[in-house]
Protein backbone atom coordinates (compact mmCIF):
# COMPACT_ATOMS: atom_id res chain seq x y z
CA UNK A 1 0.00 0.00 0.00
CA UNK A 2 2.73 2.47 1.02
CA UNK A 3 4.77 1.27 -1.90
CA UNK A 4 1.89 1.94 -4.29
CA UNK A 5 1.49 5.40 -2.83
CA UNK A 6 5.17 6.13 -3.33
CA UNK A 7 5.03 4.97 -6.94
CA UNK A 8 2.01 7.17 -7.53
CA UNK A 9 3.54 10.11 -5.65
CA UNK A 10 5.12 11.89 -8.66
CA UNK A 11 1.73 11.99 -10.34
CA UNK A 12 0.06 13.24 -7.18
CA UNK A 13 2.70 15.94 -6.69
CA UNK A 14 2.41 17.09 -10.30
CA UNK A 15 -1.40 17.08 -10.23
CA UNK A 16 -1.61 18.90 -6.91
CA UNK A 17 1.09 21.34 -8.01
CA UNK A 18 -0.83 22.13 -11.18
CA UNK A 19 -4.06 22.81 -9.31
CA UNK A 20 -2.19 24.93 -6.75
CA UNK A 21 -0.56 26.98 -9.51
CA UNK A 22 -3.92 27.39 -11.18
CA UNK A 23 -5.55 28.64 -8.00
CA UNK A 24 -2.72 30.98 -7.10
CA UNK A 25 -2.60 32.49 -10.58
CA UNK A 26 -5.91 34.13 -9.75
CA UNK A 27 -4.03 36.46 -7.38
CA UNK A 28 -2.57 39.66 -8.76
CA UNK A 29 0.49 39.28 -6.58
CA UNK A 30 1.68 36.16 -8.35
CA UNK A 31 3.88 37.27 -11.24
CA UNK A 32 4.68 34.83 -14.01
CA UNK A 33 8.31 34.72 -12.86
CA UNK A 34 7.17 33.33 -9.52
CA UNK A 35 4.94 30.84 -11.32
CA UNK A 36 7.98 29.71 -13.32
CA UNK A 37 9.93 29.03 -10.13
CA UNK A 38 6.90 27.31 -8.63
CA UNK A 39 6.43 24.97 -11.58
CA UNK A 40 10.17 24.22 -11.68
CA UNK A 41 9.98 23.36 -7.97
CA UNK A 42 7.05 21.02 -8.57
CA UNK A 43 8.93 19.28 -11.37
CA UNK A 44 12.14 19.03 -9.31
CA UNK A 45 10.39 17.53 -6.27
CA UNK A 46 8.43 15.09 -8.42
CA UNK A 47 11.65 14.13 -10.23
CA UNK A 48 13.44 13.39 -6.96
CA UNK A 49 10.50 11.35 -5.65
CA UNK A 50 10.33 9.42 -8.92
CA UNK A 51 14.08 8.82 -8.69
CA UNK A 52 13.82 7.51 -5.14
CA UNK A 53 11.18 4.94 -6.06
CA UNK A 54 12.93 1.66 -6.63
CA UNK A 55 10.99 -0.76 -8.71
CA UNK A 56 11.67 -3.99 -10.52
CA UNK A 57 9.12 -5.64 -12.73
CA UNK A 58 5.51 -4.55 -12.91
CA UNK A 59 3.68 -3.18 -9.88
CA UNK A 60 -0.08 -2.85 -10.21
CA UNK A 61 -1.00 0.33 -8.34
CA UNK A 62 -3.86 -0.07 -5.85
CA UNK A 63 -5.15 -3.13 -7.64
CA UNK A 64 -8.32 -3.07 -5.53
CA UNK A 65 -9.46 0.54 -5.79
CA UNK A 66 -7.99 1.29 -9.19
CA UNK A 67 -9.03 -2.07 -10.66
CA UNK A 68 -5.58 -2.61 -12.17
CA UNK A 69 -5.81 0.31 -14.58
CA UNK A 70 -2.47 1.85 -13.62
CA UNK A 71 0.72 -0.18 -13.67
CA UNK A 72 4.16 1.13 -12.74
CA UNK A 73 7.24 -0.52 -14.19
CA UNK A 74 10.89 0.37 -14.59
CA UNK A 75 10.02 1.56 -18.11
CA UNK A 76 7.25 3.86 -16.88
CA UNK A 77 9.61 5.13 -14.18
CA UNK A 78 12.32 5.95 -16.73
CA UNK A 79 9.80 7.65 -19.03
CA UNK A 80 8.44 9.59 -16.04
CA UNK A 81 11.92 10.79 -15.15
CA UNK A 82 12.48 12.04 -18.70
CA UNK A 83 9.10 13.80 -18.75
CA UNK A 84 9.68 15.51 -15.41
CA UNK A 85 13.18 16.62 -16.43
CA UNK A 86 11.74 18.00 -19.69
CA UNK A 87 9.18 19.93 -17.67
CA UNK A 88 11.84 21.35 -15.37
CA UNK A 89 14.08 22.60 -18.16
CA UNK A 90 11.12 23.95 -20.12
CA UNK A 91 9.95 25.94 -17.10
CA UNK A 92 13.44 27.39 -16.71
CA UNK A 93 13.86 28.32 -20.36
CA UNK A 94 10.33 29.78 -20.47
CA UNK A 95 11.31 32.09 -17.63
CA UNK A 96 14.08 33.55 -19.79
CA UNK A 97 12.03 33.47 -22.97
CA UNK A 98 9.25 35.57 -21.45
CA UNK A 99 11.68 38.30 -20.45
CA UNK A 100 11.90 39.12 -24.14
CA UNK A 101 8.45 38.08 -25.27
CA UNK A 102 5.42 39.56 -23.71
CA UNK A 103 2.42 37.28 -23.74
CA UNK A 104 2.83 35.24 -20.58
CA UNK A 105 0.52 34.82 -17.65
CA UNK A 106 0.86 32.47 -14.65
CA UNK A 107 -1.65 30.02 -16.17
CA UNK A 108 0.98 29.14 -18.74
CA UNK A 109 3.02 27.30 -16.12
CA UNK A 110 -0.04 25.69 -14.59
CA UNK A 111 -0.97 24.26 -18.01
CA UNK A 112 2.57 22.99 -18.47
CA UNK A 113 2.34 21.05 -15.20
CA UNK A 114 -1.12 19.76 -16.16
CA UNK A 115 0.31 18.49 -19.44
CA UNK A 116 3.01 16.66 -17.48
CA UNK A 117 0.35 15.01 -15.31
CA UNK A 118 -1.33 13.71 -18.48
CA UNK A 119 2.00 12.43 -19.77
CA UNK A 120 2.77 10.62 -16.50
CA UNK A 121 -0.68 9.01 -16.56
CA UNK A 122 -0.09 7.94 -20.13
CA UNK A 123 3.12 6.10 -19.22
CA UNK A 124 1.31 4.13 -16.52
CA UNK A 125 -2.09 3.56 -18.12
CA UNK A 126 -2.86 -0.05 -18.93
CA UNK A 127 -6.38 0.37 -20.20
CA UNK A 128 -7.70 2.02 -23.35
CA UNK A 129 -10.21 4.45 -21.84
CA UNK A 130 -7.62 5.67 -19.35
CA UNK A 131 -5.17 6.00 -22.23
CA UNK A 132 -7.67 8.10 -24.15
CA UNK A 133 -8.38 10.45 -21.25
CA UNK A 134 -4.68 10.80 -20.38
CA UNK A 135 -3.90 11.50 -24.03
CA UNK A 136 -6.54 14.20 -24.15
CA UNK A 137 -5.31 15.76 -20.88
CA UNK A 138 -1.88 16.04 -22.39
CA UNK A 139 -3.06 17.18 -25.82
CA UNK A 140 -5.55 19.79 -24.59
CA UNK A 141 -2.93 21.43 -22.39
CA UNK A 142 -0.46 21.43 -25.28
CA UNK A 143 -3.03 22.90 -27.71
CA UNK A 144 -3.57 25.82 -25.36
CA UNK A 145 0.17 26.32 -24.90
CA UNK A 146 0.69 26.32 -28.68
CA UNK A 147 -1.92 29.02 -29.15
CA UNK A 148 -0.90 31.07 -26.14
CA UNK A 149 0.27 34.04 -28.21
CA UNK A 150 -3.14 35.17 -29.39
CA UNK A 151 -1.85 38.16 -31.38
CA UNK A 152 0.38 35.96 -33.52
CA UNK A 153 -1.38 34.75 -36.70
CA UNK A 154 1.03 31.85 -37.27
CA UNK A 155 0.48 30.60 -33.77
CA UNK A 156 -3.30 30.78 -34.17
CA UNK A 157 -3.09 28.88 -37.44
CA UNK A 158 -0.91 26.27 -35.74
CA UNK A 159 -3.33 25.71 -32.89
CA UNK A 160 -6.32 25.42 -35.25
CA UNK A 161 -4.53 22.84 -37.41
CA UNK A 162 -3.31 20.90 -34.42
CA UNK A 163 -6.70 20.95 -32.69
CA UNK A 164 -8.59 19.73 -35.77
CA UNK A 165 -6.14 16.98 -36.67
CA UNK A 166 -5.64 16.02 -33.03
CA UNK A 167 -9.41 15.64 -32.64
CA UNK A 168 -9.35 13.24 -35.58
CA UNK A 169 -6.62 11.23 -33.91
CA UNK A 170 -8.62 11.13 -30.68
CA UNK A 171 -11.69 9.96 -32.60
CA UNK A 172 -9.65 7.19 -34.22
CA UNK A 173 -8.41 6.09 -30.81
CA UNK A 174 -11.94 5.86 -29.37
CA UNK A 175 -13.20 4.02 -32.40
CA UNK A 176 -10.30 1.60 -32.17
CA UNK A 177 -10.95 1.09 -28.47
CA UNK A 178 -14.63 0.37 -29.24
CA UNK A 179 -13.68 -2.29 -31.79
CA UNK A 180 -11.16 -3.89 -29.46
CA UNK A 181 -13.84 -3.95 -26.78
CA UNK A 182 -16.27 -5.49 -29.26
CA UNK A 183 -13.81 -8.24 -30.06
CA UNK A 184 -12.35 -9.03 -26.67
CA UNK A 185 -14.99 -7.81 -24.22
CA UNK A 186 -12.54 -5.66 -22.29
CA UNK A 187 -10.38 -2.58 -22.73
CA UNK A 188 -7.78 -3.66 -20.19
CA UNK A 189 -4.42 -4.54 -21.66
CA UNK A 190 -4.16 -7.70 -19.54
CA UNK A 191 -7.54 -9.01 -20.68
CA UNK A 192 -6.83 -8.16 -24.32
CA UNK A 193 -3.54 -10.05 -24.08
CA UNK A 194 -5.34 -13.06 -22.57
CA UNK A 195 -7.88 -12.99 -25.39
CA UNK A 196 -5.21 -12.75 -28.08
CA UNK A 197 -3.25 -15.58 -26.50
CA UNK A 198 -6.35 -17.79 -26.44
CA UNK A 199 -7.92 -16.96 -29.81
CA UNK A 200 -5.06 -15.63 -31.94
CA UNK A 201 -4.75 -12.16 -33.40
CA UNK A 202 -5.43 -12.76 -37.08
CA UNK A 203 -8.67 -14.65 -36.47
CA UNK A 204 -10.62 -11.64 -35.20
CA UNK A 205 -11.29 -8.89 -37.76
CA UNK A 206 -12.59 -6.50 -35.10
CA UNK A 207 -9.32 -6.80 -33.20
CA UNK A 208 -7.25 -6.13 -36.32
CA UNK A 209 -9.37 -3.09 -37.20
CA UNK A 210 -9.36 -1.83 -33.63
CA UNK A 211 -5.62 -2.09 -33.21
CA UNK A 212 -5.21 -0.46 -36.63
CA UNK A 213 -7.15 2.63 -35.55
CA UNK A 214 -5.31 2.79 -32.23
CA UNK A 215 -1.97 2.61 -34.03
CA UNK A 216 -3.11 5.39 -36.38
CA UNK A 217 -3.80 7.62 -33.38
CA UNK A 218 -0.41 6.89 -31.83
CA UNK A 219 1.44 7.36 -35.11
CA UNK A 220 -0.34 10.68 -35.57
CA UNK A 221 0.70 11.94 -32.16
CA UNK A 222 4.25 10.68 -32.65
CA UNK A 223 4.40 12.37 -36.09
CA UNK A 224 5.21 9.26 -38.12
CA UNK A 225 5.16 9.16 -41.91
CA UNK A 226 1.66 9.40 -43.35
CA UNK A 227 0.57 11.61 -40.46
CA UNK A 228 3.55 13.95 -40.21
CA UNK A 229 2.26 16.91 -42.22
CA UNK A 230 1.09 18.94 -39.22
CA UNK A 231 4.39 18.84 -37.34
CA UNK A 232 6.36 21.48 -39.20
CA UNK A 233 3.64 24.14 -39.07
CA UNK A 234 2.65 23.44 -35.48
CA UNK A 235 6.23 23.45 -34.18
CA UNK A 236 6.87 26.63 -36.11
CA UNK A 237 3.80 28.38 -34.70
CA UNK A 238 4.41 27.49 -31.06
CA UNK A 239 6.77 29.54 -28.91
CA UNK A 240 10.29 28.13 -28.55
CA UNK A 241 9.99 26.56 -25.05
CA UNK A 242 6.63 24.97 -25.93
CA UNK A 243 8.10 23.52 -29.11
CA UNK A 244 10.91 22.00 -27.07
CA UNK A 245 8.40 20.56 -24.60
CA UNK A 246 6.28 19.08 -27.39
CA UNK A 247 9.29 17.59 -29.14
CA UNK A 248 10.54 15.84 -26.02
CA UNK A 249 7.98 15.30 -23.25
CA UNK A 250 5.02 14.57 -25.51
CA UNK A 251 7.03 12.20 -27.66
CA UNK A 252 8.32 10.33 -24.60
CA UNK A 253 4.79 9.81 -23.29
CA UNK A 254 3.45 8.67 -26.66
CA UNK A 255 6.25 6.18 -27.21
CA UNK A 256 5.83 4.83 -23.68
CA UNK A 257 2.15 4.05 -24.26
CA UNK A 258 2.84 2.89 -27.83
CA UNK A 259 5.41 0.37 -26.58
CA UNK A 260 3.14 -0.74 -23.73
CA UNK A 261 0.32 -1.41 -26.19
CA UNK A 262 2.49 -3.15 -28.76
CA UNK A 263 4.07 -5.60 -26.33
CA UNK A 264 0.67 -6.86 -25.18
CA UNK A 265 1.17 -9.99 -27.15
CA UNK A 266 3.76 -11.34 -29.57
CA UNK A 267 1.23 -12.11 -32.29
CA UNK A 268 -0.20 -8.59 -32.11
CA UNK A 269 3.26 -7.12 -32.59
CA UNK A 270 4.22 -9.54 -35.35
CA UNK A 271 0.94 -8.75 -37.12
CA UNK A 272 1.94 -5.12 -37.47
CA UNK A 273 5.69 -5.48 -37.77
CA UNK A 274 5.85 -5.39 -41.58
CA UNK A 275 3.82 -2.18 -41.72
CA UNK A 276 5.82 -0.59 -38.93
CA UNK A 277 8.95 -1.48 -40.87
CA UNK A 278 7.82 0.52 -43.90
CA UNK A 279 6.47 3.34 -41.74
CA UNK A 280 9.83 3.59 -39.95
CA UNK A 281 11.74 3.72 -43.26
CA UNK A 282 9.44 6.32 -44.82
CA UNK A 283 9.37 8.39 -41.63
CA UNK A 284 13.16 8.62 -41.58
CA UNK A 285 13.61 9.50 -45.22
CA UNK A 286 10.63 11.81 -45.64
CA UNK A 287 11.69 13.63 -42.46
CA UNK A 288 15.21 14.02 -43.86
CA UNK A 289 13.88 15.39 -47.16
CA UNK A 290 11.71 17.94 -45.36
CA UNK A 291 14.54 18.96 -43.04
CA UNK A 292 17.03 19.52 -45.87
CA UNK A 293 14.73 22.02 -47.54
CA UNK A 294 14.13 24.22 -44.52
CA UNK A 295 15.57 27.69 -44.00
CA UNK A 296 14.07 28.26 -40.55
CA UNK A 297 15.81 26.62 -37.62
CA UNK A 298 12.59 25.73 -35.81
CA UNK A 299 11.15 24.10 -38.92
CA UNK A 300 14.38 22.15 -39.42
CA UNK A 301 14.25 20.91 -35.83
CA UNK A 302 10.58 19.93 -36.30
CA UNK A 303 11.48 17.90 -39.38
CA UNK A 304 14.42 16.33 -37.60
CA UNK A 305 11.94 15.36 -34.86
CA UNK A 306 10.14 13.31 -37.54
CA UNK A 307 13.43 11.57 -38.35
CA UNK A 308 13.98 10.73 -34.68
CA UNK A 309 10.45 9.29 -34.55
CA UNK A 310 11.66 7.01 -37.34
CA UNK A 311 14.58 5.78 -35.22
CA UNK A 312 12.26 5.16 -32.29
CA UNK A 313 9.98 3.15 -34.59
CA UNK A 314 12.99 0.98 -35.43
CA UNK A 315 13.34 0.32 -31.73
CA UNK A 316 9.64 -0.58 -31.56
CA UNK A 317 9.98 -2.99 -34.47
CA UNK A 318 12.95 -4.62 -32.76
CA UNK A 319 11.39 -4.73 -29.31
CA UNK A 320 10.92 -8.16 -27.79
CA UNK A 321 7.59 -8.93 -26.20
CA UNK A 322 9.16 -11.36 -23.75
CA UNK A 323 10.66 -9.65 -20.68
CA UNK A 324 9.97 -6.23 -22.12
CA UNK A 325 11.96 -3.56 -20.32
CA UNK A 326 11.96 -0.81 -22.91
CA UNK A 327 15.50 0.13 -21.93
CA UNK A 328 16.57 0.87 -25.51
CA UNK A 329 13.57 3.12 -26.13
CA UNK A 330 13.92 4.91 -22.79
CA UNK A 331 17.65 5.43 -23.33
CA UNK A 332 17.16 6.87 -26.81
CA UNK A 333 14.35 9.10 -25.56
CA UNK A 334 16.59 10.42 -22.78
CA UNK A 335 19.46 11.07 -25.18
CA UNK A 336 17.18 12.76 -27.71
CA UNK A 337 15.40 14.79 -25.03
CA UNK A 338 18.66 16.11 -23.58
CA UNK A 339 19.98 17.39 -26.90
CA UNK A 340 16.66 18.71 -28.23
CA UNK A 341 15.79 20.47 -24.99
CA UNK A 342 19.30 21.90 -24.94
CA UNK A 343 18.98 23.44 -28.36
CA UNK A 344 15.57 24.90 -27.56
CA UNK A 345 16.93 26.28 -24.27
CA UNK A 346 19.70 27.96 -26.22
CA UNK A 347 17.25 29.30 -28.82
CA UNK A 348 15.05 30.75 -26.11
CA UNK A 349 17.76 33.22 -25.13
CA UNK A 350 19.59 33.55 -28.45
CA UNK A 351 16.40 34.10 -30.44
CA UNK A 352 16.01 37.67 -29.23
CA UNK A 353 12.84 39.66 -28.72
CA UNK A 354 9.87 38.31 -30.66
CA UNK A 355 11.98 35.42 -31.96
CA UNK A 356 13.60 37.72 -34.50
CA UNK A 357 16.45 35.31 -35.19
CA UNK A 358 14.95 32.20 -36.70
CA UNK A 359 16.75 31.20 -39.90
CA UNK A 360 20.12 29.55 -40.44
CA UNK A 361 21.52 32.84 -41.77
CA UNK A 362 20.60 34.68 -38.58
CA UNK A 363 23.09 32.60 -36.62
CA UNK A 364 26.08 33.32 -38.83
CA UNK A 365 29.17 34.13 -36.83
CA UNK A 366 27.64 33.26 -33.46
CA UNK A 367 30.88 31.59 -32.40
CA UNK A 368 32.76 34.92 -32.44
CA UNK A 369 30.47 36.82 -30.13
CA UNK A 370 29.08 33.95 -28.04
CA UNK A 371 31.72 31.21 -28.15
CA UNK A 372 30.32 29.16 -25.25
CA UNK A 373 26.75 29.19 -26.48
CA UNK A 374 27.89 28.24 -29.97
CA UNK A 375 29.93 25.37 -28.54
CA UNK A 376 26.93 24.14 -26.55
CA UNK A 377 24.66 24.27 -29.60
CA UNK A 378 27.29 22.37 -31.57
CA UNK A 379 27.38 19.64 -28.92
CA UNK A 380 23.59 19.28 -29.12
CA UNK A 381 23.64 19.15 -32.91
CA UNK A 382 26.42 16.56 -32.94
CA UNK A 383 24.48 14.51 -30.43
CA UNK A 384 21.38 14.61 -32.62
CA UNK A 385 23.47 13.64 -35.63
CA UNK A 386 24.91 10.73 -33.63
CA UNK A 387 28.63 11.55 -33.39
CA UNK A 388 30.57 9.86 -30.55
CA UNK A 389 31.12 10.49 -27.64
CA UNK A 390 27.68 12.12 -27.26
CA UNK A 391 24.48 10.57 -25.93
CA UNK A 392 22.89 10.55 -29.39
CA UNK A 393 25.57 8.20 -30.66
CA UNK A 394 25.04 5.71 -27.85
CA UNK A 395 21.25 5.87 -28.33
CA UNK A 396 21.53 5.15 -32.05
CA UNK A 397 24.10 2.46 -31.34
CA UNK A 398 21.69 0.65 -29.04
CA UNK A 399 18.78 0.98 -31.46
CA UNK A 400 20.78 -0.34 -34.38
CA UNK A 401 22.31 -3.24 -32.45
CA UNK A 402 18.87 -4.19 -31.10
CA UNK A 403 17.51 -4.12 -34.67
CA UNK A 404 20.31 -6.42 -35.83
CA UNK A 405 19.70 -8.77 -32.90
CA UNK A 406 16.03 -8.92 -33.87
CA UNK A 407 17.04 -9.88 -37.41
CA UNK A 408 16.09 -6.54 -38.97
CA UNK A 409 19.40 -5.92 -40.72
CA UNK A 410 17.86 -3.93 -43.60
CA UNK A 411 16.24 -1.59 -41.14
CA UNK A 412 19.52 -1.14 -39.25
CA UNK A 413 21.38 -0.27 -42.46
CA UNK A 414 18.67 2.18 -43.54
CA UNK A 415 18.85 3.77 -40.09
CA UNK A 416 22.58 4.35 -40.51
CA UNK A 417 22.05 5.79 -44.02
CA UNK A 418 19.39 8.15 -42.73
CA UNK A 419 21.64 9.23 -39.91
CA UNK A 420 24.40 10.08 -42.40
CA UNK A 421 21.96 12.11 -44.54
CA UNK A 422 20.88 14.01 -41.44
CA UNK A 423 24.44 15.31 -40.94
CA UNK A 424 23.74 17.67 -43.85
CA UNK A 425 21.37 19.92 -41.98
CA UNK A 426 22.95 19.58 -38.54
CA UNK A 427 26.42 20.46 -39.79
CA UNK A 428 24.99 23.32 -41.84
CA UNK A 429 24.17 25.25 -38.69
CA UNK A 430 27.58 24.50 -37.19
CA UNK A 431 29.27 25.76 -40.37
CA UNK A 432 27.13 28.89 -40.27
CA UNK A 433 28.07 29.55 -36.66
CA UNK A 434 31.80 28.96 -37.00
CA UNK A 435 32.90 29.65 -40.55
CA UNK A 436 30.73 32.56 -41.66
CA UNK A 437 31.27 36.25 -41.09
CA UNK A 438 28.97 37.73 -38.51
CA UNK A 439 26.21 39.91 -39.91
CA UNK A 440 25.23 41.17 -36.48
CA UNK A 441 26.88 41.22 -33.12
CA UNK A 442 24.41 39.41 -30.84
CA UNK A 443 25.19 42.32 -28.58
CA UNK A 444 22.13 42.49 -26.36
CA UNK A 445 22.49 41.31 -22.79
CA UNK A 446 21.01 37.93 -21.91
CA UNK A 447 17.81 38.78 -20.04
CA UNK A 448 18.15 36.11 -17.38
CA UNK A 449 20.76 33.55 -16.48
CA UNK A 450 18.40 30.61 -16.11
CA UNK A 451 18.24 29.49 -19.74
CA UNK A 452 22.05 29.71 -20.27
CA UNK A 453 22.63 27.74 -17.06
CA UNK A 454 20.13 25.10 -18.20
CA UNK A 455 21.85 24.93 -21.58
CA UNK A 456 25.20 24.15 -19.98
CA UNK A 457 23.67 21.70 -17.52
CA UNK A 458 22.17 19.91 -20.53
CA UNK A 459 25.59 19.81 -22.21
CA UNK A 460 26.83 17.97 -19.14
CA UNK A 461 23.73 15.73 -19.36
CA UNK A 462 24.49 14.85 -22.98
CA UNK A 463 27.92 13.55 -21.99
CA UNK A 464 26.72 12.02 -18.74
CA UNK A 465 23.98 10.04 -20.52
CA UNK A 466 26.52 8.75 -23.03
CA UNK A 467 28.84 7.64 -20.20
CA UNK A 468 26.03 6.11 -18.12
CA UNK A 469 26.08 2.65 -19.78
CA UNK A 470 29.89 2.59 -19.65
CA UNK A 471 30.02 3.39 -15.94
CA UNK A 472 27.17 1.15 -14.80
Amino acid sequence: MTNDLMLLMPLIIVGAGAILLMLSSAYQKLTHEMAAYGSALVFAVAFLVQLSACITGNAVLFSGAFNGLLVASSFSKAAGLIILACGFFTAMSSHTYFKQNDFCSPEYYSLMVFAASGMLLLTMAQELITVFIALEIMSLAIYILVGYDRKNVISTEAVLKYLMLGAFAGAFLTMGAAFVYGATGSTKFVKIAQYVAAHGFMQTPALIGGSFFILVAFLFKAAAFPFHAWVVDVYDGASVPVTGYMATGLKTAIFAVFANFLVLDASLQSGWITYLFYIAVFTMFVGNLIAIGQQSLKRMLAASGIVHTGYLLIALVAVSTKDFTGSVIAYYLAAYAASTLGIFCALSYLGGAGEKRSTFDDFKGLAKSRPYSAAAVSVFLLSMAGIPPTAGFMGKFYIITSAIEAGQVTLAVLGIVSSIISMWYYLRLIINMYFCEAEEQFGEAVPSNLAPICTFVLVVCVFAISLYPVVI
Binding site: E107, L111, T130, I144, P205
Partner: protein, 169 residues
Protein backbone atom coordinates in the same frame (compact mmCIF):
# COMPACT_ATOMS: atom_id res chain seq x y z
CA UNK B 1 -39.16 -7.71 -35.03
CA UNK B 2 -40.49 -4.34 -34.01
CA UNK B 3 -37.20 -3.60 -32.29
CA UNK B 4 -35.28 -4.47 -35.46
CA UNK B 5 -37.40 -1.98 -37.38
CA UNK B 6 -36.74 0.66 -34.76
CA UNK B 7 -33.02 -0.04 -34.94
CA UNK B 8 -33.00 0.38 -38.72
CA UNK B 9 -34.99 3.59 -38.47
CA UNK B 10 -32.74 5.13 -35.83
CA UNK B 11 -29.58 4.02 -37.61
CA UNK B 12 -30.66 5.52 -40.94
CA UNK B 13 -31.71 8.75 -39.23
CA UNK B 14 -28.39 8.99 -37.37
CA UNK B 15 -26.38 8.59 -40.57
CA UNK B 16 -28.60 11.03 -42.50
CA UNK B 17 -28.26 13.63 -39.75
CA UNK B 18 -24.48 13.29 -39.77
CA UNK B 19 -24.41 13.59 -43.55
CA UNK B 20 -26.58 16.69 -43.33
CA UNK B 21 -24.17 18.22 -40.80
CA UNK B 22 -21.42 17.96 -43.39
CA UNK B 23 -23.41 18.93 -46.47
CA UNK B 24 -25.57 21.86 -45.31
CA UNK B 25 -24.14 25.25 -46.13
CA UNK B 26 -25.49 27.33 -43.27
CA UNK B 27 -24.18 26.39 -39.78
CA UNK B 28 -27.68 26.62 -38.30
CA UNK B 29 -29.00 23.98 -40.70
CA UNK B 30 -26.00 21.85 -39.88
CA UNK B 31 -26.68 22.19 -36.14
CA UNK B 32 -30.34 21.24 -36.58
CA UNK B 33 -29.36 18.23 -38.62
CA UNK B 34 -26.94 17.26 -35.84
CA UNK B 35 -29.83 17.24 -33.36
CA UNK B 36 -31.43 14.49 -35.44
CA UNK B 37 -28.27 12.39 -35.06
CA UNK B 38 -28.10 12.94 -31.31
CA UNK B 39 -31.75 12.01 -30.77
CA UNK B 40 -31.48 8.89 -32.92
CA UNK B 41 -28.42 7.87 -30.92
CA UNK B 42 -30.50 8.23 -27.78
CA UNK B 43 -33.01 5.87 -29.41
CA UNK B 44 -30.26 3.35 -30.09
CA UNK B 45 -29.15 3.50 -26.45
CA UNK B 46 -32.72 2.86 -25.36
CA UNK B 47 -32.86 -0.22 -27.60
CA UNK B 48 -29.80 -1.50 -25.72
CA UNK B 49 -31.66 -1.08 -22.37
CA UNK B 50 -29.23 1.66 -21.32
CA UNK B 51 -31.80 3.75 -19.49
CA UNK B 52 -29.49 6.25 -17.83
CA UNK B 53 -27.39 6.84 -20.93
CA UNK B 54 -30.59 7.34 -22.94
CA UNK B 55 -31.77 10.03 -20.55
CA UNK B 56 -28.34 11.67 -20.36
CA UNK B 57 -28.02 11.70 -24.14
CA UNK B 58 -31.30 13.55 -24.45
CA UNK B 59 -30.76 15.96 -21.57
CA UNK B 60 -27.07 16.71 -21.93
CA UNK B 61 -26.29 16.31 -25.62
CA UNK B 62 -29.52 16.96 -27.47
CA UNK B 63 -30.56 19.49 -24.82
CA UNK B 64 -27.77 21.41 -23.14
CA UNK B 65 -24.89 21.08 -25.57
CA UNK B 66 -27.04 21.65 -28.65
CA UNK B 67 -28.56 24.79 -27.20
CA UNK B 68 -25.04 26.06 -26.47
CA UNK B 69 -24.02 25.42 -30.06
CA UNK B 70 -27.14 27.15 -31.36
CA UNK B 71 -26.48 30.09 -29.02
CA UNK B 72 -22.95 30.45 -30.33
CA UNK B 73 -24.13 30.40 -33.93
CA UNK B 74 -26.69 33.06 -33.00
CA UNK B 75 -24.04 35.22 -31.33
CA UNK B 76 -21.86 35.07 -34.41
CA UNK B 77 -24.85 36.30 -36.46
CA UNK B 78 -23.78 34.65 -39.68
CA UNK B 79 -25.22 36.20 -42.86
CA UNK B 80 -25.30 34.36 -46.18
CA UNK B 81 -22.61 36.77 -47.41
CA UNK B 82 -20.23 35.64 -44.61
CA UNK B 83 -20.24 32.07 -45.81
CA UNK B 84 -17.42 31.00 -48.10
CA UNK B 85 -18.22 30.21 -51.72
CA UNK B 86 -18.07 26.47 -52.14
CA UNK B 87 -18.06 25.94 -55.88
CA UNK B 88 -15.90 22.81 -55.76
CA UNK B 89 -17.88 21.30 -52.89
CA UNK B 90 -19.36 18.48 -54.97
CA UNK B 91 -15.91 17.44 -56.19
CA UNK B 92 -14.62 17.37 -52.61
CA UNK B 93 -17.57 15.31 -51.38
CA UNK B 94 -17.20 12.80 -54.22
CA UNK B 95 -13.44 12.63 -53.73
CA UNK B 96 -13.90 12.18 -49.99
CA UNK B 97 -16.41 9.39 -50.60
CA UNK B 98 -13.96 7.64 -52.89
CA UNK B 99 -11.24 7.85 -50.24
CA UNK B 100 -13.49 6.76 -47.38
CA UNK B 101 -15.19 3.94 -49.29
CA UNK B 102 -12.47 1.28 -48.74
CA UNK B 103 -12.37 2.13 -45.03
CA UNK B 104 -16.15 1.87 -44.93
CA UNK B 105 -16.10 -1.56 -46.55
CA UNK B 106 -13.42 -2.64 -44.09
CA UNK B 107 -15.57 -1.40 -41.20
CA UNK B 108 -18.61 -3.22 -42.61
CA UNK B 109 -16.59 -6.42 -42.67
CA UNK B 110 -15.54 -5.89 -39.07
CA UNK B 111 -19.06 -5.17 -37.90
CA UNK B 112 -20.33 -8.30 -39.66
CA UNK B 113 -17.84 -10.40 -37.74
CA UNK B 114 -19.15 -9.19 -34.39
CA UNK B 115 -21.47 -11.62 -32.58
CA UNK B 116 -25.18 -10.91 -32.92
CA UNK B 117 -26.88 -9.30 -29.98
CA UNK B 118 -30.54 -9.31 -29.15
CA UNK B 119 -32.60 -6.22 -28.49
CA UNK B 120 -34.56 -7.89 -25.72
CA UNK B 121 -35.04 -5.80 -22.59
CA UNK B 122 -32.58 -6.80 -19.89
CA UNK B 123 -33.75 -7.20 -16.36
CA UNK B 124 -31.99 -6.71 -13.02
CA UNK B 125 -32.20 -2.94 -13.32
CA UNK B 126 -29.53 -3.04 -16.03
CA UNK B 127 -28.50 0.43 -17.14
CA UNK B 128 -30.19 2.14 -14.21
CA UNK B 129 -28.65 4.93 -12.18
CA UNK B 130 -27.60 2.59 -9.39
CA UNK B 131 -25.95 0.04 -11.66
CA UNK B 132 -24.08 2.63 -13.70
CA UNK B 133 -23.02 4.46 -10.55
CA UNK B 134 -21.69 1.31 -8.95
CA UNK B 135 -19.74 0.46 -12.07
CA UNK B 136 -18.39 4.00 -12.36
CA UNK B 137 -17.20 4.26 -8.78
CA UNK B 138 -15.94 0.71 -8.38
CA UNK B 139 -14.40 -0.50 -11.60
CA UNK B 140 -13.84 2.76 -13.41
CA UNK B 141 -12.71 5.05 -10.62
CA UNK B 142 -9.48 6.15 -12.30
CA UNK B 143 -10.98 7.32 -15.62
CA UNK B 144 -13.85 8.96 -13.74
CA UNK B 145 -11.47 10.93 -11.54
CA UNK B 146 -9.00 11.95 -14.24
CA UNK B 147 -11.79 13.26 -16.44
CA UNK B 148 -12.09 16.03 -13.86
CA UNK B 149 -8.52 17.11 -14.66
CA UNK B 150 -9.43 17.12 -18.34
CA UNK B 151 -12.43 19.37 -17.68
CA UNK B 152 -10.30 21.67 -15.51
CA UNK B 153 -7.80 22.08 -18.34
CA UNK B 154 -10.49 22.92 -20.86
CA UNK B 155 -11.85 25.48 -18.40
CA UNK B 156 -8.46 27.16 -18.05
CA UNK B 157 -8.01 26.98 -21.81
CA UNK B 158 -11.29 28.74 -22.44
CA UNK B 159 -10.37 31.50 -19.98
CA UNK B 160 -6.84 31.90 -21.36
CA UNK B 161 -7.69 31.77 -25.07
CA UNK B 162 -11.01 33.58 -25.08
CA UNK B 163 -10.81 35.83 -22.01
CA UNK B 164 -10.06 39.54 -22.12
CA UNK B 165 -6.36 40.01 -22.55
CA UNK B 166 -6.09 43.26 -20.58
CA UNK B 167 -7.16 41.59 -17.38
CA UNK B 168 -4.29 39.12 -17.54
CA UNK B 169 -1.07 40.37 -16.10
Amino acid sequence: MFADGLFLGFAVLAVLGAAGLVVFRHPMNGAMSFVVTLISLAGLYALLSAKLIFALQLIVYAGAIMSLIVFIIMFLNIQPSDLPKEETKLVYILGGLAVVLPIGLFLAKIVKSLPLSSTAILGNDFGGVKQVGLLLFKDWLVPFEIVSILLLISLIGAVVLAGKKEAVK
